[in-house]
């Protein structure tokens, strides 16, 4: 006799097909897929398949680093790319594994649910003939007739929260721990809920990122985002029309502790915004912090990054302003060594466009190690730039705003023409370009906030399911399924009764004996 309600019970294996026709093959395949061994294999496979995504850069997380990696590994890069190692979690083979696992799960759990449903409503099975054969077993003799004793046996079992049933006049069958299987089934079913929630979020959710320098305003329309990733079913025209203006950005860095790895570490970032729920609504003062997002009513605004946007002005030879913007530079490390580019799209002399690329250094030093920043706060800001002329957007290809595509540009030389031109500017300084190309001015520096706005309508389903799964898991792992059988028979002496009690549990149930003792103790208490 087995306590198990698993579909791989031997009973099920008895269904043999006389000839394996197509149907037979299908049935065979289905049984294989929904077997415990396959589930185990798929689980281990899933663990292995998830691995490369933590080793190789992933396009969905950091496209730049991924492209960089592929470029640096000329032979391996494209091959690995082809088999999806840079998009592991969107790769077909990864999906195949978890979808198979899901099918296996459903195919395994639904029949189990049915069996368990029946088991919960049926009575504990008949007692085996020879109770002394069971792993835990005991016989005790009590005063009283078999009927009297049996009545107390029932009470003692009920006291142990067993469900009881008598199939005949001299035995009681008792069972408890149905919640174990219930919990287990809820756990497995809830995993499906988690996946559904994720899928829903993927289809109906969206996320957009925007870099917002202090003083500028963001309006929540698809076009205003620097990058926008809407799910396949998202109507990007229907975004709620809120706006927010970044009025102030606070950044605090560690200055007290000088130890390794701590000095200069970020300590607090706060973005102060003027939030307007919809055009015409009143302006609300809000803050967005790391760990403290702002609910906008259409997506949640998170503060995910920050950096510096030096304000740069470029004038042509006539003194006409051709470029004047707060230009975000992207921080590369903890000291905010930041890279960026200035693209003066208007035509320069002789139809040539001007471009500048280089570094922004919040606390700049210039020594034999080259220009670099030694602290993340803007204590001694400086710009270190090179200048180029030519075509800024060769072939109209999309390119990063933080770098120049210099394929069709030439780098300018210094006034003497002996060396490449290097421009070093501190706030307020202007540099006049050689050859009547005009001038470039570093007006001052602002901070920018990297804001990400995200909407995920599936998250509640995922969270709810995950919590149900956790609860089910706890039930499944802590509760024990146990059966006890009791038989009474008249003893040799007059007026005495032998109580035989045997317990059935899964092989490594250390507590079974205790259960049995518990029932006997309660029985003894009643008989004295």
């Amino acid at each position: 006799m087995s306590l198990s309600t698993q579909p791989n019970d031997p009973r099920r294996d008895d269904i043999t097909q006389p000839t394996l026709g197509t149907l037979g093959l299908l049935r065979f395949g289905w049984r294989q897929l929904t077997s415990m061994r396959t589930a185990l294999f798929l689980l281990l496979l899933l663990a292995v398949a998830a691995l490369p995504g933590s080793i190789f850069p992933q396009r969905s997380i950091d496209a730049v680093r991924t492209a960089d990696w592929i470029a640096r590994h000329e032979t391996a890069g494209p091959i690995l790319d082809k088999i999806g190692l840079f998009e592991v979690y969107a790769a077909p083979w990864f999906a195949a594994i978890y979808l198979l696992l899901l099918v296996s799960l459903v195919g395994c759990v639904l029949p189990r649910s049915k069996i368990h449903w029946k088991a919960m409503r049926s009575q504990p099975p008949k007692a085996p003939k020879r109770l002394e054969r069971l792993a835990s077993h005991e016989s005790v003799t009590f005063d009283g007739t078999p009927d009297e004793v049996l009545e107390d046996v029932r009470a003692a079992l009920r006291g142990g929260r067993f469900r009881i049933h008598s199939h005949d006049a001299t035995t009681v069958s008792a069972e408890k721990g149905y919640l174990k299987e219930t919990g287990n089934l809820f756990f497995h079913l809830a995993l499906i809920g988690v996946i559904l929630g994720m899928a829903w979020g993927h289809l109906m959710g969206w996320k957009g990122d925007v870099i917002l320098p202090v003083g500028e305003t963001f309006a929540n329309t698809a076009a205003r985002f620097d990058t926008l990733n809407p799910g396949p079913l998202v109507d990007t025209a229907a975004f709620a029309p809120f706006t927010m203006k970044l009025t102030k950005f606070d950044a605090v860095f560690e200055t007290d502790v000088k130890g390794k790895g701590q000095f200069g570490s970020p300590r607090d970032f706060t973005a102060h915004v003027d939030f307007t729920k919809e055009p015409g609504a009143k302006v609300e003062k809000r803050v967005i912090r790391v760990n403290g997002p702002l609910e906008t009513g259409s997506g949640t605004a998170f503060l995910l990054g920050n950096g510096y946007a030096p304000h740069i002005t470029v004038k042509d030879a006539q003194g006409k302003v051709t470029y004047s913007e707060a230009t975000p530079f992207l921080a590369q490390d903890n000291n905010y060594n930041s890279v960026g580019a200035v693209k003066v799209a208007g035509a320069g002399p002789a139809g040539k466009q001007l471009g500048f690329a280089g570094l922004f250094l919040p606390t700049a030093v210039l020594d034999d190690q080259g220009p670099r920043s030694v602290f993340p706060d803007a204590l001694e800001p400086a710009l270190a730039l090179s200048a180029f002329e030519g075509t800024l957007f060769p072939g109209g290809r999309p390119q990063s705003v933080y770098s120049l595509d210099t394929a069709e540009m030439t780098q300018l030389k210094n006034k003497a023409g002996t060396d490449l031109l290097r421009i070093w500017l501190t706030p307020g300084q202007t540099y006049t370009l050689p050859g009547g190309q005009g001038s470039i001015t570093f007006d001052g520096v602002e901070r920018f906030a990297g804001i990400s706005i995200r909407n995920d309508p599936g998250k509640e389903l995922t969270l709810g399911s995950a919590l149900v799964a956790l609860l089910g898991l706890i039930l499944s792992l802590t509760i024990r399924r146990r059966r006890l059988f009791v038989r009474v028979s008249p003893a040799d002496e007059e007026g005495r009764t032998v109580v035989s009690i045997g317990g059935l549990a899964k092989d490594d149930d250390e507590g079974m004996g205790e259960q049995l003792e518990g029932v006997l103790t309660r029985l003894k208490e009643r008989r004295t």
Partner: protein, 333 residues
């Protein structure tokens, strides 16, 4: 008291804990060694501290005179009351020192937290100390319910190695946290994660001892220490019971981490390397629980899956935290 003095006291407490635990480990080793002579009735003359070479000599002796003696040795294995007085003394001292070491570790973590006015789980060094603390707590608490003196040396020694690493390679000065770590979810998520790591650590140790005992326990060769352990079925069951406490806690860690990820980074799952590994660990342990009840899988193979799970935990902490680029860059290195 200034923050710096507090941090210094924290370190002092840590060094004391390491010293005390070293003594405790020696006590447990003496306990195991002291066991052996009674188990091998033939070797009564051997003292508590059996040197490695001696041990080989002794076991060779046992082998040559097997016959009549071995069955008696078998009988004595079943009763713990046979533990000789010296071993019992060593074991008792080791137990007390293990408790003291745990208290000192706790004090160290508490003082560190006090000195920085935050939960002391913000960098690799603090993880190391906390993981040691919880591993010791699991061992001490489990030890109140059953006799675990045989396990002591196998838990305390790795804990000492971990503390050594934390103190040298991973040491980070006491300081505040970076913004993404300032959250109650740090306390919830990381603390529960570290508690389950403690449980998994003891679980993996017991699983390995089970595998060793199962494989070499019956040989008369150089692995006689294994005979001082409980029988292999009991070991396997004990390992399982630790894992089924740890697994729901790890599941909770995963969920709490996702909630926090949404607070801090905007989306509850980003396939960040650290998340990937947390997930891999979860899946491997789920596979362990499955393997244990899958027909055609032996308990030994299932136990290897559990050991693999712990290997993943080690990788997650020692490699992923330090070398993999991701949003979880808080190792403080």
């Amino acid at each position: 008291m200034t923050h710096e003095t507090m941090a210094n006291y924290a370190n002092l407490s840590l060094y004391s804990a390491m010293a005390v635990l070293t003594l405790s480990m020696l006590g447990y080793a003496a306990y195991l060694a002291g066991w052996l002579p009674t188990r091998d009735a033939a070797a009564t003359s051997v003292g508590a501290e059996v040197a490695a070479e001696d041990r080989e000599l002794v076991s060779a002796g046992v082998g040559s005179m097997s016959g009549g003696v071995a069955p008696e040795a078998g009988v004595s294995t079943s009763t713990t009351s046979e533990v000789p007085l010296r071993a019992r003394k060593a074991g008792g001292i080791a137990q007390t020192l293990a408790l003291l070491g745990t208290v000192l570790l706790f004090a160290s973590a508490a003082l560190r937290g006090w000195s920085v006015e935050r939960w002391p789980l913000g960098n690799m060094f603090e993880f190391g100390v906390a993981a040691s603390l919880f591993t010791m707590m699991v061992f001490v608490i489990a030890g109140t319910r059953r006799d675990l003196r045989w396990l002591g040396v196998f838990v305390v020694a790795p804990v000492l190695i971990l503390l050594g690493l934390a103190n040298t390679v991973w040491y980070t000065e006491a300081a505040e946290l970076m913004p993404s770590l300032k959250s109650v979810w740090l306390i919830i998520h990381v603390t529960v994660a570290t508690i389950s790591v403690g449980l998994f650590a003891v679980g993996a140790t017991v699983a390995l001892l089970y595998l060793a005992k199962d494989r070499f326990g019956e040989t008369t060769g150089g692995f006689r220490v294994l005979r001082a352990l409980p029988d292999s079925r009991a070991l396997e069951r004990f390992a399982y019971s630790l894992h089924i406490i740890a697994f729901p806690l790890w599941t909770f860690t995963l969920i709490a981490g996702a909630i926090w990820a949404r607070q801090a980074w905007g989306s509850y799952w980003n396939w960040d390397p650290k998340e990937v590994w947390t997930f891999i660990i979860w899946v491997v342990y789920a596979a362990y629980l499955h393997a244990r009840v899958t027909r055609g899988w032996r308990r030994q193979s299932a136990s290897w899956v559990a050991v693999a799970g712990f290997a993943c935990i080690i990788i997650n902490y020692a490699v992923v935290n330090v070398y993999f680029v991701g949003q979880h860059s808080y190792s403080g290195l």
